[in-house]
Amino acid sequence: MERETGSQDGPRVGVFATCLVDLMRPAVGFATVRLLERAGCRVSVPAAQTCCGQPAYNSGDNESATAIACQVINMFMSFDYVVVPSGSCAGTLKKHYPEMFANDPIWEPRAEDLSKKTYELTEFLVDVVKFKNVSANWCNSVTYHDSCSGLRELGIKNQPRALLENVSGLIISEGAEAEACCGFGGLFCVKYGDISNEIVGRKVADIQETDADMVLGGDLGCLMNIAGKLKRQGSSVEVRHVAEILADMHDHAAIADPDSVEDV
């Protein structure tokens, strides 16, 4: 039996943690679970999950991408909802799986079914379960980076802001270019590193214009890119996934910051 937490009579939610959260920043996974529990859900994190297949899909390797997609569909088919702490991976499940299986009599309906119940975390909290009870504190100003897939594939813009407004003490200072791409782009950031680096340079300049102490966002890929650039420039601006602040789980080091102050 897989581990299950939260309220037993709530909707059954499967968390698709995403490979980056799984590998790079477990804190986001824990924060996601905590938020879903608080929102009254019955939460599972299927142990066999790996990756949504987006790197393969975006590189033209449709054979691998569809094989991975079948695996994800099978794993999450039985849940009421699938919640993903990433706009771009949620977008893959929601928008691209149905595309991948277009005209496949068996898999297209399954992909459509999964698509209908898949949500990005903040989208799920605000639009589906109408979660209002954010009990978190953060007495500082933050700015928000709207990551491309979340914004343009899923229309996520107001949901994270609506949640953050309920964090006591928190002030949102919007960047003029909050919606601009950070230049991550999956494998693009390595393949065309020079260009990617210039794009993220403009992104962090916009962030610094806001005078915020922290950048939040819903996609770890973008956040790692932004944090990597800020830290290379010696900036003290912290970078975190929005779930960490919403779940009030932010005592550990921010992205790309040293593990703990005493260790430095």
């Binding site: 790079m24 824990f30 142990a47 650039k229 790309a256 910051d257």
Partner: protein
């Protein structure tokens, strides 16, 4: 201009280090997008017009043969001629033939990306015919012997000082101490230089923003009025256009015009919108005696019926370039041929082959901004992915990135093995990087770490910790407890 797309990476690096270019691009990136969004916001029916415009072009592409034949019939009944050209060679030969027949020494030109696509200038020069660009931007880059860097703003890569220097160097017989420090002065000087050329030209060559089937007209949109002089002064007029430029009716043309300028420059309308139909009639006071249309295919009809058909809806507004983070970083020349930015990255592999253009579909973050602003709703990111897929299928060679990706994908399909492998990898990486929280350098990730640090992972994976019963708490104690 011969394609130089293989040099994309090197070109991009050069572009990033070119200060003048970067300041010109910064201006473009803040100017055009802001003006577009204001123009769109001022027009309540803008979104509805986009849908209509898309529907018009989709309809045409489904019935292209019918509309092309109708168009040809109308051009002929207005006294003009249509020359069907399958490729660039055929189009060049036809244009030269018409010029020779007219005994042309100089040809004024206006507004044609197709002219660039078939490299007509060099060809005419080789036949002792002098082409004179009359669009200010085109004129400037012709003086500098450079290709255009943007489909609607060909000299957008230059700063005003560079233009002034070019005029100083190339305009002979003028006071070398004259001031050229304002756009207006530059414009006046160019205008004075061009006036005689307009009057002396034997043939006028223009592109076309649209071809209208019901009237046989071509539509020209400019801000300088140069197209009108190119059309009306010389004895012979040649329109060079690709076949997907067709629209059924004047009404349809009006719909597309309403989204075109708004998307391109944020203007409600361009300053001049001209409808040219055939040669002068008896009662006309001006206009050409001959009217030719060189209708070019050059690979476009092959795209019909494929997943790239929607690319032929493109009206060349340039919005996708203006909003593209990659274009904003490297400018148009880096792309190595006439068409740049997202529309170029989709169209060029279709026109000249994926092998030659293999860089273009990959040099994109797939951020989706282009599709969101494209007045014709062209799904550019989806098509970039389709090119990548074709590339993956045909390219069996084992580049490093490709092998790494295959290994990753193979692991992702085997959860047990994946857990084992990533668990070990992450533990090692985490132990190495946890003290600083990041890496300044990582093997084989130079593309990233050249300009950025790479965040270190936080110890054990989430899935492993979760299934060991961890909950994560505010203090982050689990990180240290569970860490390697």
């Amino acid at each position: 201009m011969d394609p130089q797309i293989r040099q994309f990476r090197g070109n991009a690096r050069g572009a990033i280090n070119n200060r003048n270019l970067q300041s010109a691009l910064a201006k473009l990136s803040s100017g055009f997008p802001a003006r577009r969004s204001q123009a769109a916001a001022r027009l309540p029916e803008f979104e509805a017009l986009r849908d209509e415009a898309r529907a018009i072009k989709d309809h045409v592409l489904e019935h292209l043969d019918i509309y092309l034949e109708r168009y040809e019939a109308e051009v002929m009944s207005a006294g003009g001629q249509v020359h069907w050209c399958a490729d660039a060679d055929a189009a060049r030969a036809k244009i030269t033939e018409i010029c020779k027949a007219a005994g042309a020494k100089t040809v004024t030109k206006s507004k044609s990306m197709i002219g660039e696509e078939i490299a007509i200038n060099g060809h005419l020069e080789s036949k002792d015919i002098t082409p004179v660009e009359t669009d200010l931007g085109e004129y400037i880059i012709q003086l500098r012997d450079e290709p255009p860097s943007h489909i609607i703003a060909p000299a957008v890569h230059l700063t005003m000082d560079q233009v002034a220097d070019t005029f100083m160097a190339r305009h002979e017989g003028l006071d070398p101490t004259r001031a050229l420090d304002e756009p207006r002065k530059l414009l006046e000087e160019a205008r004075a230089q061009l006036r005689d050329k307009f009057i002396g030209a034997d043939v006028g060559l223009t592109g076309a923003n649209m071809l209208i089937a019901e009237t046989g007209s071509n539509v020209l949109v400019t801000n300088e009025g140069n197209a009108d002089l190119t059309y009306s002064l010389p004895k012979v007029h040649i329109v060079i256009a690709s076949l997907e430029k067709i629209v059924p009716t004047l009404e349809d043309a009006a719909t597309i015009l309403r989204v075109l300028a708004r998307s391109a420059t944020g203007q409600e309308m361009s300053v001049y919108t001209t409808f040219c139909t055939g040669p002068r009639r008896e009662a006309d006071t001006d206009g050409p005696e001959e009217y030719h249309v060189v209708l070019l295919d050059n690979g476009r009809s092959k795209l019909i019926g494929t997943e790239f058909q929607a690319m032929l809806r493109c009206i060349r507004c340039g919005a996708c370039l203006n909003h593209c983070p990659v274009y904003q970083t490297v400018g148009g020349h880096a792309y190595g041929w006439v068409y740049s930015g997202p529309m170029g990255a989709v169209l060029v592999p279709g026109l000249i082959g994926l092998e030659e253009a293999s860089n273009l579909p990959n040099a994109s973050t797939l951020c989706g901004k282009c599709e969101s602003v494209c007045p014709m709703h062209i799904p550019l990111p989806r098509m970039l992915r389709s090119w990548r897929q074709k590339q993956f299928e045909t390219n069996r060679s084992g580049s490093f990135a490709r092998v790494a990706l295959r290994v990753w994908a193979a692991l992702a399909r085997r959860p047990g093995l994946y857990r084992l492998a990533v668990g070990l990898g992450i533990a090692g990486l985490g132990a190495w990087g946890r003290r600083r929280g990041r890496f300044a350098w990582l093997p084989m990730a130079g593309g990233w770490t050249g300009g950025r640090d790479f965040p270190a992972p936080n110890g054990d994976t989430f899935i492993a910790q979760w299934h060991q019963g961890a909950r994560g708490d505010a203090s982050g104690a689990w990180l240290r407890r569970q860490g390697p």
